[in-house]
């Protein structure tokens, strides 16, 4: 069993309620943090090596260190609960089953940053979780962990839940801020960064749900102890949401020392591929990150075992590696079509592009149309090169990373599965009837013993 510090209490009966959560040791980190003072908390988070769990993996303590503190201007912490990256549903699990863990992390982090009004920006579709969170906030308020003069410290902190309305782009922090101000979710040009001018032009820190929840064990055990879990710069634990063609889809907490093979095949995690099928490919960190064929997923290009951490998953760069991303782990078995899967992602990004930047607004639509044509057996060989060319012209040419996120999955699919794309063109009649199957790129494939 791996180390569990976030979900260790997830299965305790009644853990959603304040009483049970408190009895199980909840809100201790608030009591401790209030005695430590803001600077010491930031210091512990820096020592922990905690990296942003939303997808970018930026060191959380460093991000906190950037916040401006101009005299007389309020600062805000905003929790990014706009979880929308296909394959990702870990924040939902955490908020649904351990709402008080998030509230506890928010109070400690708000104290560290000096935020007296903290917002949880939650995706609009998670409507029932809004009720769960608001109920938890009221319970915490009744026990003086939210509201005025928390535990007699003189620190006031209100937590508000702000419901979005269906827009992937609002997971991007400046789009989220625009949306929080009641506008369209169009990302802002940076600088100024939110740490200087964020919501209502006030200094703002935006952190992912899991990042803020991780502050609780960091304060409880100390940053140095937290950093001992994991390996290298992948400290602590990571929530993975596993889905696609696996026996046990769900949310798993891993300590980032296990191999990808163990994660897919062990009964403690995904439990292998259903119906005795073989592994074809995997998108290990949410739809934006490069898809890898089975052979490059389980072992790096150098033939070394690949592990479930930031460094190992990105070993080989985009040529032969991928990314940890948001932890949305999508598995494709031998019957799946990479062209079709890529098409659904391209359609997703076209749907979610805010439309500000031409390369993304136009490019995502072109990619969707070309992929649909290829998938339907109506494509030309030159379409594959055109597709490659379009994604190259989107990447890096937009205000926010949605353009990159749309380009990368297309690029990786062509890079590793070009023969499957060509097969769709060369065998149009077959392509509409059946899928390409495993082919050579997935060999030699791992067949677990026993």
């Amino acid at each position: 069993m791996g180390v569990k510090i976030l979900l260790d209490k997830a299965h305790v009966e009644g853990i959603r309620t304040y009483d049970v959560y408190r009895r199980e040791g909840g809100y201790r980190s608030v009591e401790k943090a209030l005695k430590m003072g803001p600077e010491a908390i930031v210091e512990e988070v820096k020592k922990s090596g905690l990296r942003g769990r939303g997808g970018a993996g930026f060191p959380a303590g460093m991000k906190w260190g950037f916040i401006a503190k101009p005299e007389g201007i309020p600062r805000h912490l905003v929790c990014n609960a706009d979880e929308s990256e296909p394959g990702t549903f870990k924040d939902r699990y955490l908020m649904e089953f351990l709402p008080h863990l998030l509230i506890e992390g928010l109070v400690v982090s708000s104290f560290a940053l000096g935020s007296n009004a903290t917002y949880i920006y939650i995706r609009g579709e998670y409507a029932w979780i809004v009720d769960i969170l608001e109920h938890a906030i009221e319970e915490a308020r009744a026990h003086n962990f939210v509201g005025k003069n928390i535990q007699g410290s003189g620190f006031d902190c209100e937590i508000y839940v702000h419901r979005g309305a269906g827009a992937y782009i609002c997971g991007e922090e400046t789009a989220l801020i625009e949306s929080l101000e009641g506008k369209r979710g169009n990302p802002r040009i940076k600088p100024p960064f939110p740490a200087i001018q964020g919501v209502w032009l006030r200094p703002t820190v935006v952190n992912n749900v899991e990042t803020l929840a991780a502050v609780v064990p960091i304060i409880n055990m100390g940053g140095e102890e937290y950093a001992k879990i994991g390996v290298g710069k992948s400290t602590g634990t990571k929530l993975m949401s596993a889905c696609g063609n696996i026996n046990k889809p769900g949310v798993y907490e891993i300590d980032m020392t296990i191999s990808v093979e163990e994660f897919i095949y062990s009964d403690e995690y995904c439990g292998g591929i259903p119906n005795g099928k073989r592994l074809k490919a995997c998108i290990p960190g949410g739809s934006s990150v490069p898809i890898l064929p089975a052979n490059l997923l389980l072992k790096t290009a150098k033939g070394e075992t690949r592990y479930m951490n930031y460094e190992s998953l990105s070993d080989g760069g985009f040529a032969t590696g991928s990314m940890m991303g948001s932890g949305g782990f999508i598995v494709l078995d031998e019957d799946q079509c990479v062209v079709k899967n890529t098409y659904t992602f391209a359609r997703f990004y076209r749907h979610e592009s805010c439309g500000q930047c031409s390369p993304c607004r136009e490019g995502t639509g072109w990619m969707e149309k070309l992929l649909l044509r290829l998938e339907n057996g109506a494509g030309k060989l030159s379409d594959i090169d055109l597709l490659w060319d379009i994604q190259r012209k989107i990447e890096g040419n937009t205000i926010c990373p949605l353009g990159d996120a749309a380009a990368w999955p297309v690029a990786a699919a062509i890079r590793h599965f070009r023969d499957e794309f060509e097969w769709h063109v060369l065998h149009p009649d077959e392509a509409v009837k059946r899928n390409y199957g495993l082919a050579h790129y997935a060999d030699p494939i791992h067949v677990p013993v026993g």
Binding site: P86, G166, K183
Partner: protein, 166 residues
């Protein structure tokens, strides 16, 4: 008449109170949800103008937001809206078959409403239920691990609920 009643106005005031003085526009998204739920499941121009008036902002500021976010309906929808996810992980688990089955069973294509105004079918992009695919959103909750049998029982359940409320 497009007007919130007292309970709805109390909720409106609670939502606005979350934001600093003078920043009441920030409440626009939550208030539009409230308005949509209150006034028939969609946002008519009249509803949007009323929201603008309440928040003391220009109507255009409401229109531009209402047209940006996918959860706001700008046309009338059925009493029950089946929003079936069709993105990658749901597709891998057979969401195409679920959409085809609903289309067949109710005689409506995605984007259409049954002639009795009971059901609307809509395909949507990733709703964050990838591990419990295929799935759909129905009102405030998710229906997951969908099968044809499950779809049948959801349709029956909606019809029963509607009959009871009439």
């Amino acid at each position: 008449m497009t007007k919130f009643n007292d309970t709805q106005l109390t909720e409106f005031n609670r939502l606005v109170s979350h934001y600093p003085e003078g920043k009441q526009k920030s409440a626009l998204l939550p208030v539009l949800h409230l308005a949509q739920d209150t006034f028939g499941g969609w946002l008519s121009p009249e509803t949007m103008d009323y929201v603008a008036e309440l928040l003391q902002i220009a109507p255009i500021e409401v229109y531009e937001v209402a047209t940006f976010y996918s959860m706001y309906n700008l046309k009338p929808v059925g009493k029950y809206m089946f929003e079936v996810c069709q993105t990658g992980p749901c597709m891998l688990n057979g969401s195409d078959n679920i959409v085809a089955y609903i289309t067949d069973k109710l005689g409506i294509k995605p984007g259409e409403t049954t002639s009795d105004g009971m059901f609307t079918l809509k395909t949507v992009e990733c709703l964050g239920a990838c591990g419990y695919a295929p799935m759909m959103q129905l009102g405030k909750t998710y229906r997951e691990h969908l099968t044809k049998e499950k779809v049948d029982s959801i349709i029956d359940e909606c019809r029963r609920t509607a009959a009871k409320n009439n």
